[in-house]
């Protein structure tokens, strides 16, 4: 039973389209995150929610909008996709915003390619 699952695993889309990535965790964690990994493998935090409340909102274009309907789900919607949005997007969760003694659990990633 997958702990943090993301869908889709691969996403190829044209510039200008709108797309969503979904994330669900079944670990009972309170905190969820979106990270972006670029082509050089650099990982950067984008957003974090704790119990459905936004606690981290990094400097990302406002074309990116996270939504957390409940503490087990965190979705990422991207409007007007650009070539530079191509990357791997990782969802993660933890017991608390500080890691909660066991650290983060990551999903398997969504490889987004904008053409």
């Amino acid at each position: 039973d997958t702990a943090v699952s993301q869908t889709p695993k691969y996403l190829v889309t044209q510039m200008g389209n709108d797309k969503s990535i979904k994330c669900e965790q079944n670990l009972g964690h309170d905190t969820m995150y979106w990270y972006k990994q670029d082509s050089k493998k650099f990982l950067k935090i984008m957003f974090s929610y704790n119990n459905k409340e936004l606690i981290i909102n990094e400097t990302v274009p406002n074309r990116f909008s996270p939504k957390s309907p409940d503490k087990a789900h965190l979705n990422l919607h991207i409007n007007s996709l650009e070539l530079g949005d191509s990357a791997v997007y990782f969802c993660a969760s933890s017991r608390s915003p500080t890691g909660g003694n066991y650290g983060y659990t990551f999903g398997s990633g969504t490889r987004l390619t904008v053409v």
């Binding site: 050089k40 493998k41 950067k44 935090i45 704790n50 606690i55 500080t98 066991y102 650290g103 990633g109």
Partner: protein, 109 residues
């Protein structure tokens, strides 16, 4: 913000060898984690270690928070250890976990 530097950037080992990966951070932290990204892209949490020493099989980690560094030891390396090892650090007050640029490890049979 916190800066996280990892060394070496690349490492090639023969199977069976031991290695030490280093992570330096620029400020006091109370959240320090090590991750392994395998060749298929999966990120696996290895250790949550803001201070002290932990061991898990052939892997162990030590963080000396007062001196702002953490070490990851890999003993008797195996080809399945190949991938990228990331250190990430943060402070409670900001909640952000900042990742280093990683150490790429290749273990040859």
């Amino acid at each position: 913000g916190i800066q996280v530097e990892q060394s070496p950037p690349d490492l090639i080992l023969q199977e069976g060898a031991n290695s030490t990966l280093r992570c330096n951070f620029s400020d006091s932290v109370n959240n320090l984690q090590w991750f392994h990204q395998n060749p298929w892209g999966q990120l696996i949490n290895l250790f949550y270690i803001p201070s002290g020493t932990k061991q898990n099989g052939r892997l162990s980690a030590t963080t000396v928070a007062t001196e702002r560094y953490s070490l990851l030891y890999i003993s008797s390396s195996q080809t399945t250890d190949s991938g990228v090892y990331f250190c990430a650090a943060g402070r409670d007050s900001s909640y952000k976990l900042i990742f280093g640029s990683g150490t790429r490890l290749l273990v040859r049979p």
